[in-house]
Amino acid sequence: MANKTVMIPSEVSASDIRTRLASFTSSADVEQGQLFSRGALSTTAGMSEVYAIATPATATLSTLYMAYTPESVILVAPNGNQYKVGDFDPRNFTNVANLVFTGFKPAVDDKILITAEGFTAPWDAAKTHAVAADGQTKLVWATGVAAGLSFELESATAYISIGQNFGSHRITAYQLRCVKLV
């Protein structure tokens, strides 16, 4: 099973501005750092402040959200039963389908730390930016800003510390700063 994306919002506007945060639900699992746009407000009873999500499209690239919820791993059995068994590894965490999760709206100068799983392809030295793209729920490496949400790569040698078995405790992560929204 592939590892899930691990993201740390190092310094984001959403820490101070509550309107940059919203509650969402999705019929599919959503990884941390996944990009989406705000869909319709739920009509389900008891979910009057919860929105559906939509895949990024050309028209929404400037108003995207990123998923970020406290990592509390839920294991799902084939019959749909869900268990919290005390798994602390954030690489096993995903926002499970149909459970409400948090998304924040990145702003210019927001700084995040995100692992390689958060991108559509591996990084190479020519890439200086990571951008949102039509139809992509993950960031796409690029050589410059694009139309819509664009991050500048500040460090490709950053890491996130995770207790691992008999070896390195560091997972390579990319430090990104948001430089463009529109």
Binding site: V6, I8, P9, S10, E11, S15, E71, V85, G86, D87, F88, D89, P90, N92, K111, I160, S161, I162, G163, Q164, N165, F166, G167, S168, H169, R170
Partner: protein
């Protein structure tokens, strides 16, 4: 932390005589394995002959207590064929197995492994704390907060699987006194213990052998030299939270640890000659892993004489051994099988794996 198996704890709880007797039994076995001539009993030192008699007496009293039948009331062959007597006898064998195996493993290879006990149906989980500290940065005076730093624990699991062994003897061989099922069962218990030991060694060596050989992450060195070995020892100690690392190896491997300068060797005294290796090498302890026979291939030895391991015993043990529940001893009746074979099956569920936040070093000689 190492603990006694839950089954033994429950079995002896609230019964002082039983608690003392089983503790004494474990001490007898340990003393016997260490090649001692006498063993410390409750009232001072006793010979193994006396200890054996005490154990047998206790064993008989336990069977009588559990089966509710007095041995003296029946002829011995009739008594031994009672189903409840057999069940009691094998329940006690199972209990002794649960007591002796972890005890023997802790004493012999406690440097590299930790024994854990879980109940039937449980899984073993370990959470590994990251060893990293947070990176500190200079910051301006006019800013309320700085980049939020986080780190995460990792979680790993082990699921025990049963290991089974069935021993069988023709009923006729028991009746004519050629063999007893007890001696076969004793070997079966030893076989399980040895199997656990091999699994520990294999898991340990495989993980250590796979360590990085280049760059800053280098933890595996080819060829022994004073500087590289001590450098590796320093690295393992430092990255295990300053828990002093030691050199581990067989007698032959440890014998290769000598000062680079032959000028120092006149000072080795008789220690090197007497025990075959240095106890301390530039302040680093050298600890022998006793080599053992590898019963899977006749006359082969299990441990490599060409390897030195560098581990911090005070840090987290590298290998975890997890025993699930108690040993199941299933003793068949004399007439259960159509061919009059008498069978006993032992089943012990365990898992062995490398699960640790610590690191180690590997030196091939």
């Amino acid at each position: 932390m190492n603990k006694m198996p839950i089954s033994v704890m429950n079995f002896t709880a609230g019964n002082e005589i039983r608690t003392k007797a089983y503790a004494q039994m474990a001490a007898y076995v340990a003393a016997f394995n260490e090649g001692k001539k006498n063993v410390m009993g409750e009232n001072g030192e006793v010979s193994f002959a006396d200890a054996n008699e005490t154990v047998l007496k206790f064993y008989k009293s336990e069977i009588e207590f559990m089966s509710g039948k007095k041995m003296a009331d029946y002829p011995l062959d009739v008594y031994c064929n009672f189903a409840d007597v057999k069940q009691a006898a094998f329940a006690i064998i199972g209990m002794i197995t649960d007591l002796i195996i972890p005890d023997a493993l802790i004493k012999d290879i406690g440097m590299i492994s930790a024994i854990k006990n879980i109940g039937f149906g449980d899984s073993f989980k370990i959470d590994i704390q990251p060893r990293d500290l947070f990176i500190v940065s200079k910051g301006s005076r006019g800013k309320r907060s700085y980049d939020e730093k986080r780190q995460f624990k990792g979680t790993y699991t082990l699921i025990p699987e049963p290991r089974n062994i069935t021993v069988a003897i023709p009923l006729y061989s028991i009746l004519n006194g050629d063999y007893s099922i007890a001696e076969f069962v004793m070997k079966a218990v030893q076989s399980i213990e040895v199997n656990v030991r091999y699994d520990i060694y294999d898991a340990f060596d495989t993980a250590m052998n796979a360590l990085a050989t280049t760059g800053d992450a280098l933890l595996k060195i080819v060829g022994f030299s004073q500087d590289t070995a001590l450098g590796l020892q320093q690295k393992v100690s430092a990255w295990n939270g300053n828990k002093e690392a030691v050199f581990l190896g067989t007698k032959i491997a440890l014998g290769k640890i000598l000062p680079a300068s032959t000028n120092f060797r006149f000072d080795l005294g008789s220690e090197y000659v007497k025990i075959g290796h240095l106890r301390d090498y530039f302040g680093v302890s050298c600890i022998e892993l006793q080599n053992v026979a590898d019963y899977r291939t006749e006359f082969k030895m299990k441990l490599k004489d060409t390897v030195l391991y560098v581990v911090s015993p005070a840090a987290d043990k590298i290998v975890k051994v997890v025993f699930e529940g108690s040993t199941l001893a299933n003793a068949g009746g004399n007439y259960d099988n159509a061919n009059l074979q008498v069978e006993t099956t032992l089943s012990k569920s365990y898992a062995v794996g490398v699960l640790t936040g610590a690191i180690g070093g590997y030196i091939t000689l």
